[in-house]
Symmetry: C2
Subunit: 378 residues, 2 copies
């Protein structure tokens, strides 16, 4: 059999055809279905962007109204799933809870045994609405607060903030989160999306694929990085250290700084541009520019010292912090958005499926090594 | 950036170096750490094989005794996990239940936040013992039976049968299952193992990786195939049809026959050789050779007609049926074994990690397609 040896971590290997997302890592371009992320961040909303990812084109007025209504209607969780989340220990991380609860959602999804295109679209509406609900509900439960019922008149971003805080969210907070959700909604074959496609390609169900994707997103080399950035900012603040000096010492000790560099982008991550702007504006508006200022000094230093650019995770940390969101919800919020892309990729995979099954280069003991009775072993 | 376009489904692409499993698909050779699967099936047991997969060599007497004792000691489930499984609807498929319960295990694993090599070995003992327990416990619960406490004096295979049936298993049944577990324990970068490595490579935790792997195994193009084989045999039996005629009609209608062909093997799957033998022997010994005979006629027909060989799934169906195991436990039993390989691969991945992040070939709308206001859309 002929085999081709790929770069480690499949770097630069084309693993699938996809019509969802196009990235030019040299030029710093990210686009969904051909539309530049800068245009979407400026003009679109999460609902419209999700429609675009799922359907390949922007919706007309009627389609957008129907899509938005359907997504709002899907804000419903079986009481047994709520009871399940309530039974989880309050020390569990929100990503473990989300992974487990999403896996359990399949028990109560009427389409569980139907893996058709249409059934997976229906399940995608449910999953998109339910992931946001689970994140909000668990955060309230672990804090001993009452669960807040969904408000179907609000946008996806607005309803999430409402269910999280129990307060009507400001326009600024809603629009900030909405833009963050647009920016995080898809990113081609990132690790969690690739995991989802590998799982879906066995013709397993979409709940399996999304559960696996959540597990992948949890990792600090992927979605978990935004939490790493904020933990660094908090440590620097607590120690009253100079941010640049602190990071300089980390580099000297060969420690990794979360939020910089990207496998695909060789220039600035176009998502960082928007998150930087939002972080600065929120900081100024709220009278608390501390996290933005600290982030900006670190960024300029790392740019100069290591020739590395901030990625999507770097300014999402200070943005979410200024919105008053707990650190360990940053990665779950990534999932609240990325479900749009995961669902699009799972459905695209199944529309033209082939099992994803690569080979390994064997580097173990020679064949044949023989089995010997236990008493003859050293 | 230079990219290499891989075959669809990453066919023939080397995605990792691995010292665990070597397969020669042309010659029909499968080996774990250099030792031929035929020698292991004949002489080894699941515990010894798992030690081999995890440690790269066969254990000496002391090491084997300690390993076996440690695995038996790990037969312990937090009462809250048992309560969780009890709360699941009895209509849930065992694979959904296993995926959800394994995800929840991380809540109660003392090493949850420790992703070191040693902690992952400890978690692997737990996961190996716990997956078998969860499968047995849920099967009893959904049938309204009492849970059977683990027996730490029994082997992994023996204890599973004990917890499943509540009866002391026969030597034949135990040895049959033990061999089946050896045969299924690893298979290089199969889809579920590859999913586990993609997830682990983000530096997420091993529970995330194994949860994702279970989701992938569930698919009918992977572990789910053995259930497909048995459903076919049952349908033929129920309709009183001639197996060869029935399958001939399926081929004419371009239907896929589960249990034949393999991405890697171009000759007989060496695991099928053993499962065929066990299926025949069990059939004769039990006085019920029906499933074996039916399977054998189908196999000979498909060999001749389609030049396709039986794979691991084909004779595991009739083997498990003759052991009296429910159909929808066949894939969970695959997981009871494959956890050995999954754990070995996750630990190997983390010992020399790089994020697994391929690229896609873009086939969507041209860039730039511009955003236009909703009222201007058709």
């Amino acid at each position: 059999m002929s085999t081709a040896v790929a770069g480690k971590g499949l770097e630069g290997v084309v693993a699938a055809n996809s019509g969802i997302c196009w990235i030019d890592g040299e030029a710093g371009i990210l686009s969904y279905r051909g539309i530049d992320i800068h245009e979407l961040a400026e003009h679109s909303c999460f609902e419209e962007t999700t429609y675009l990812l799922w359907n390949g084109m922007l919706p007309n007025e009627l389609a957008l109204r129907e899509f938005t209504a359907q997504l709002a209607l899907s804000r419903s969780l079986d009481q047994r799933v709520i009871d399940l989340v309530r039974s989880f220990p309050t020390a569990a991380t929100p990503m473990e809870v989300l992974r487990t609860a999403v896996s359990a959602l399949s028990f109560y999804d009427a389409d569980e045994k139907d893996n058709s295109h249409d059934a997976n679209v229906r399940k995608s509406y449910n999953l998109t609405a339910q992931i946001a609900m689970i994140v909000a509900i668990y955060d309230r439960l672990r804090k001993g607060k009452e669960i807040v019922a969904p408000d179907r008149s609000l946008s996806h971003a607005g309803n999430f903030l409402w269910m999280l805080t129990g307060e009507e969210p400001s326009e600024t907070a809603t629009r900030t989160l909405d833009i963050a959700l647009i920016l995080h909604a898809d990113h081609e074959l990132n690790a969690s999306t690739f995991a989802a496609r590998v799982i879906a390609a066995t013709l397993s169900d979409i709940h399996s694929a999304i559960t696996g994707a959540i597990g992948a997103l949890k990792g600090p080399l992927h979605g978990g990085a935004n939490e790493g950035v904020m933990r660094l900012l908090l440590t620097i603040d607590k120690e009253g250290a100079d941010p640049v000096e602190y990071v300089r010492n980390m580099l000297a000790a060969r420690q990794k700084i979360s939020g910089f560099g990207h496998r695909v982008y060789k220039t600035e991550d176009p998502r960082a541009t928007h998150l930087r702007k939002m972080s600065e504006q929120l900081g100024n508006d709220s009278g608390n520019p501390k996290w933005y200022n600290m982030s900006r000094s670190i960024e300029l230093f790392i740019n100069k010292e290591k020739k590395l650019n901030a990625n999507v995770d770097f300014y999402s940390a200070s943005t979410y912090a200024t919105l008053g969101i707990d650190i360990d919800l940053y990665t779950p919020i990534f999932a609240v958005s990325r479900i749009a892309g995961w669902a699009a990729h799972v459905i695209e995979q199944l529309d033209d499926n082939r099992l994803i099954r690569p080979r390994a280069e064997y580097i173990g003991p020679p064949y044949p090594t023989h089995w010997v009775p236990v008493e003859e072993r050293l």
